[in-house]
Subunit: 401 residues, 2 copies
């Protein structure tokens, strides 16, 4: 995509009717790649419009982050006229992405496909069998919290990893379905259960098979890697770093950079393991860490950086969100992915383009409802008089969103 | 995709040269959707071929999980002939997906595009500026471990969430690039840095803006939700459940199902917050939990399930990987996503199809190198004699993988 300003999905139009994280990430990712993504909300916004964190103005930084580059249309979706306009927009676009309950009713595939026979509809659900679920409840069910931290009390992740994965699955599924429609003319409904994303991923990573084949249930390992050497270490100045070796070369680099290769090689004899094998190093991990910990404890983070950067050692500092934003050049405009742009309601922000590079520059999130009139005119060909009549009737918002 | 056995990507051919998690998940996801994905490895396998967990036979359950549905070709990639065959396969397929160092040399876009002008190449790197990185070091840099758990010591996640997200980004980017090539004839190289996936996601979720706009650095909150009510609770029989309310309806359902609505509503007066607002409930979370904890402590998990299922309450049990596999019907063939199939070297396993449903049934991972001769014949038109000569010369493995 070298040198292009336009994203690869230029010309693709998608309607999104959504809330929260997963479906909005799906639409946002497509918008970052050049698709025209029209998010339709009820007048006043959907349930996620005020989600924390907020800017002092009351603008949701969460909503702004998840809806970058989209167009925003608000309609009185509780009225027949509002639903008719939404239906017309969906039929015109030919692709709908949603996480709202839409198995039945006006937004169901059965109803919408009467208006557009080759409609593609991506529908995110909680569980495959109709249950409610969000990232937190899915994560609890799928084993990872019980294997996180150091004891048997489960530890929730903070990253909504299943929502993020589900959003990206929705993109993949949408583009796959659109590819098929281009070749065969056939649309269809594709459903994705948030809980299935989690179960499938646990299985793909071997956790299910390890139980079935070996009867092994992965216990919590704290910050240790599983099956290879890796752990966090404290530095002299109160920082922590993560160190890992998942190849022989990376392992040898640790010995060389710390000048502890000789001591580390003796561990093999002491512990009776093969230190050239990552399983051996995993078995001897406590002894390895005991040799390495004083090296880190004797050095500041800057000294660790000087010694390890460019050495082939796989390592990195822990950073809280503040340190990441204030100290890490990779989280700044020194990284071509990041741009400094104006987000209405929030001011100038560091905003990422798609990490798929090269990418078009990022666009801010819209003002809620800010594109309603333009979209109704462009996509449905409605006249200014017709739009004014809808506004008068309360089908469109009378003041902005 | 109703009723189809074939996936939507039937007819798409991709060559993958990869190791570990992210790029293999990308290729696997495409294969599950019907693409022909040819993974090329050096003879004997790449560095991930023996990664834990293993079956008693020595087969890596990790590798088997991540390479489902692919074809496996092994070549002496350290020889000019092996590289020539790989180059010919890539040129013929027209799409390459890799996470190996390929900025320069025979597998670089510059070199390969001389053989196929409209080549599409997806290349995963560690950091955007050429640094090494894996999920663990990326995660340390990006703030989440410092906000996980209950104190300031960072807690690593166990799910390789950035690898999973990167794999799905690769799918999205590949399909977007292929869509553009179909329309314009133009290929190109797309790079994705694992660390950029993490920084971009942290920004999308509002963590970067919260620092920039509010100077707020999210602290560790244990198992509490941020900005709404949610936490884990212990049951009478020693299990734990996750409970959350991210809508007013879900909040009211908790009061109704536990018959504690009246007490919960009094908390608003006591704590001087608006209990109809999720920010108010977040502020009063300790008091809410104090009211709810005895209700859970007085009931077994089964009793909790009886009271809450079907009530509109958003909740779920914590399960370790064993409980998930042995007790949860959603992680069984009662879920249409899961199938019971034979995985060579591991026996019969519960294997997921794509969570994008309906989906074609899953296919097992190949035997390493098991498709070499068939792929060389089908894709490159090599004769049996030619293949035998390559084998004799050591360009192909003499015995299997």
């Amino acid at each position: 995509m070298n040198g292009s300003v336009e994203g690869p999905l230029a010309g693709l139009r998608v309607v999104e009717v959504s809330a929260f994280v997963a479906a909005p990430i799906g639409g946002m990712t497509l918008a970052q790649l050049g698709a025209e993504v029209i998010r339709i909300d009820p007048i006043g916004g959907n349930i996620d419009i005020g989600r924390w964190p907020l800017a002092p103005s009351g603008t949701s930084l969460y909503w702004a982050g998840l809806n970058k580059g989209k167009r925003s249309v608000t309609l009185a979706l509780n009225s027949p006229e509002g639903r008719e306009i939404a239906t017309a927009l969906i039929a015109e676009a030919g692709i709908l992405l949603t996480n709202l309950p839409a198995a039945e009713g006006w937004m169901s595939f059965a109803t919408l496909s009467q208006r557009r026979a080759d409609l593609i509809m991506l529908r995110l659900t909680g569980t495959h069998d109709g249950g409610n679920a969000i990232d937190y409840t899915v994560n609890a069910a799928v084993g990872f919290p019980t294997a996180t931290g150091e004891d048997e009390r489960p530890v929730n992740h903070v990253l909504p990893a299943w929502d993020v994965a589900a959003g990206l699955y929705l993109c993949t599924g949408l583009l796959a379905a659109e590819r098929r429609r281009t070749r065969t003319g056939q649309g269809g409904e594709v459903t994705l259960a948030l809980s299935d994303v989690a179960y499938a991923t646990a299985a793909t990573l071997g956790y299910v098979a390890d139980v079935q084949v070996n009867g092994a249930v992965r216990p919590p390992l704290g910050n240790w890697l599983y099956g290879a050497f890796g752990r966090d270490f404290a530095t002299k100045d109160g920082r922590r770093v993560m160190l890992a070796a998942i190849s022989g070369r990376q392992w040898r680099a640790i010995g060389k950079a710390t000048k502890l290769a000789e001591k580390l090689s003796l561990i093999g004899q002491v512990m009776e393991v093969d230190m050239d094998d990552e399983g051996g190093r995993y078995a001897a991990r406590e002894a390895i860490a005991a040799v390495l910990a004083p090296w880190f404890a004797a050095r500041t983070l800057d000294q660790v950086r000087d010694a390890l950067d460019g050495s082939g050692v796989l390592w990195g500092p822990y950073q809280d969100f503040g340190q990441m934003v204030r100290e890490d050049p990779r989280c700044s405009t020194a990284n071509p992915m990041f741009h400094d742009i104006e987000q209405p309601g929030a001011g100038r922000l560091l905003v990422p383009a798609s990490p798929l590079q090269p990418a078009a520059p990022p666009r801010p999130a819209p003002r809620l409802g800010g594109d309603t009139d333009a979209v109704l005119a462009e996509v449905l060909g409605l006249s200014p008089a017709r739009i004014a009549a809808y506004r008068e009737a309360g089908v469109l918002a009378r003041d902005g969103g």
